[in-house]
């Protein structure tokens, strides 16, 4: 017997359900753009001739008119509104009609194919495998989607602002004035202060996280008794599980005022949104990240190396400093790189505790802004989609994505390569 009865049944079910489901999904994804396209054809000629922003505006007006009848209607838009109502009615019927008939057709075809000869199991399994394959394809599609969206918008941005000005300019003031004759009308997009701010905050975070995380990992893996380890390790990892918005709140309302008070007592001028507060809290957040990754690599150093060192009369800390750390160094470097990429991409802590002023400074008591904060401020709220202000966020996103991607890629390679050595 090549197939069991339930193989035939499953095959039927798959053939009946899957094609219709795929049709419904693609339909829903494509519905909005297609309707938009059809509506544009119905708009008055002078709007159609205008630029894309005006077309967008008109389209959204049409949607509003169609959904609520009480609004005062612009007569030139009425054909489009009526067309939209008709379209909506038609798509609903078309959609379910086509899906149902597809179900029916597939059912009949498969039903007629069911014979003892039919290798139902093989066929069913290849369909299932195809579904599994497409699931793993989604991860790849996500990357492609990220790259496509960020690259496309960034490219539009670089058509208006030169990449040189963006990457090397030192003034960041993205506010574009509404009228051309206002002062500061152009807006300047030199991202250097943002990069500097991001690096400053990440550096402060690393100064906290790397020594403490590393020492904690060494203590827990080499010194601590197994019962201490059993409780201390998960407790440290709780720090990594706390939502970043909670850290942000803590940084903005507890740490920042505390540092300000301390600074004032010492006679220093401390900004209420100092880089130090955001960096400190971010460092605490990253401690478990560094410690658990370094813990893994330290544990991967074979016991024979420790025994050899002890045999030569080295003390525990000499063994750790001169044998284990050098042996684990590539892995630790990898862990630190991953932590840096985490710090650069962290958003909520800096959005809540760091400022918006794009100062180019190395003073940790001053207020700085970061790439992620600017992405959030530029994109939160309503905005027209093709102004340089909005597009700048995508250009920043592109830089952020590339930098973290390179860091992650290199770090993962290092960690992997190192693990294989002792396996």
């Amino acid at each position: 017997m090549h197939s069991l009865p339930d193989h035939y049944g499953t095959l039927m079910a798959l053939w009946t359900g899957v094609p219709a489901l795929i049709l419904l999904m693609t339909w829903h994804l494509l519905e909005a753009p297609v309707i938009d396209y059809l509506l544009i054809a119905q708009l008055p000629a002078e709007i159609q001739a205008a630029d894309s922003a005006q077309i967008q505006l008109a389209i959204s007006k049409v949607y509003n008119l169609a959904s609520s009848s009480g609004l005062t209607a612009d007569p030139s838009l009425m054909p489009a509104v009526e067309h939209l109502a008709a379209l909506n009615e038609r798509t609903a019927i078309l959609n379910s009609g086509i899906a149902l008939s597809l179900c029916l057709v597939c059912f009949v075809i498969t039903y007629r194919r069911i014979q003892p000869k039919l290798r139902a199991r093989t066929e069913m399994e290849s369909i299932v495998n195809l579904l599994l394959l497409s699931s793993s394809g989604i991860a790849v599609l996500t990357t492609v989607g990220i790259l496509a969206s960020v690259l496309f918008e960034a490219w539009m941005f670089f058509q208006q602002i030169s990449p040189i000005d963006f990457l090397f300019g030192t003034t960041w003031s993205p506010q574009v004035a509404l009228r051309a004759d206002q002062s500061g009308s152009s807006g300047s997009f030199g991202a250097v202060p943002l990069f500097a701010g991001t690096l400053l905050i990440s550096l402060i975070a690393m100064v906290i996280a790397v020594p403490i995380g590393l020492m904690a990992a060494i203590y827990l893996s080499e010194y601590a008794s197994s019962s201490v380890r059993k409780y201390a390790k998960p407790a440290l990892e709780v720090l990594a599980g706390i939502p970043t918005v909670v850290y942000g709140f803590f940084a903005a309302l507890t740490v920042a005022p505390f540092i300000r008070m301390l600074g004032t007592d010492l006679g220093l001028e401390v900004s209420s949104e100092s880089a130090l507060a955001a960096g400190l809290v971010m460092g605490v957040m990253i401690i478990p990240f560094v410690s658990s990754l370094s813990d893994d690599v330290i544990n991967a150093v074979p016991q024979s190396m420790r025994d050899g060192s002890y045999g030569l009369g080295a003390t525990k800390n000499e063994t750790i400093r001169q044998v284990i750390i050098p042996a684990a160094l590539p892995g630790i470097v990898g862990a630190v790189m991953l932590a840096v990429s985490r710090a650069i991409g962290e958003t909520m802590i800096v959005a809540m505790a760091a400022g918006l002023a794009a100062n180019l400074t190395a003073n940790p008591l001053d207020s700085v802004t970061t790439v992620t904060v600017q992405i959030v401020t530029l994109l939160v709220g309503d905005q027209e989609f093709d102004s340089p202000k909005t597009l700048a966020a995508f250009a920043l996103g592109l830089v952020l994505f590339l930098v973290t991607l390179i860091l992650n890629f290199v770090a993962l390679k290092i960690v992997q390569k190192y693990r294989e050595q002792y396996d």
Binding site: E125, N129, Y223, T347, T372, L405
Partner: protein
Amino acid sequence: MTDSKTTNSNTLTESKNMKPTQLTTRQKVELSLSRRRAAETRFRMYGMASVFFGMLCLVVLFTDIASKGTAAFKQTSLKTEIFLDSSYLGLTKDSKVDEVRFANFEGLIKRQFAKNFKPSGRKETRELFKLLANPEVLDTTISIELLMDDDVDQWFKHDRDLSTDETNDRLSTKQLSWLNNWVEEGRLDTHFNTLFFTNGDSREPELAGIHGAIKGTLLTLMVTLLLSFPIGVAAAIYLEEFAPRNRMTEIVEININNLAAVPSIIFGLLGMAIFINVFGVSRSTPLLGGLVLTLMTLPTIIISARAAIKSVPPSIREAAYGLGASKNQVVFHHVLPLAMPGMLTGTILGMAQALGETAPLLMIGMVAFVVDVPGFINDPSTVLPVQIFLWSDSPERAFMERTSGAILVLLSFLVLMNTTAVILRRRLERRW
């Protein structure tokens, strides 16, 4: 210890007989021993201090937020008597429900307090309306509890014991004297703040609640779970069991590992550019939030599901093959059930990550001020972390309290999920 000390002194006496500059290796080692031991202790202390520092941060964080937030679960109200004046309300015993609903209860309360104090309106109106479902109470005096304004609430809960000299910039001296009177009469009291759990967002701190945010969070997580669990498990099965070992598979694997470390805000950009602008999914909805969070948690789930599949020993597979099972039957009938606890644990941890995520949701419009509680996945809504972010921006002191309260609720959800994951792992996971 005693042993080493005696040898130490022996060698020292020996060395006196020799030329003092020429030390043997043994002597050099012994002379350096105390320094090396001190270094050892120091190093150990650094390690302990690091672990201790981590714990300390955790404790400080929790106590800080708990001390700020517990007061949010209490709300001050004023016990007062009110005369339901039928002529003022314009109602008779035969009035219809709609007339009762629109009767001027607020005016009645205001009149009662005449030039006195202004408590905020809505809740007491509703209470009065409830009373009037039974029209018999018209023209009688009833006792109700009036919800107090956030400034009064803060004063009553925190500053009451301060001397009156310390000026309260929110309340005037006159207002403070009334309040003190009420306190002496025992009419001001705090109750459990049910409104905090039953109301949506509001501009008035005393009326703002997290019901809408919690509902939005649950809907968003539901979408995320329904999408990311099946897709993640399917992808893991494919990569672990079926994928040919070639360049393509390697690229997919590297890709997934990298995606797990991409900053979450990038997923927000993706959601904005692709889901909103290309596919026209409407902004601020749990559906959109769920889609974005699915893409974000997928790598985590795939990685943990693969680890779970890997931990199923080959003997199980071989036994199944030996009984004539096909590759798919081996995977779906034997490997998958055995790997399921591990997969579930990974999924819960992924969901916990999604629950705490804020940044990508800011990009896709979930920061909108939403008063209504969302009904389904296509209603505009906000989620708990975003609500925390929004409230933390508000200047009122009462909102800070509520922010901490909301954080406590969020943290307890997280604790619940993580404990479930740990219990699941302990109970179900087998060691082979």
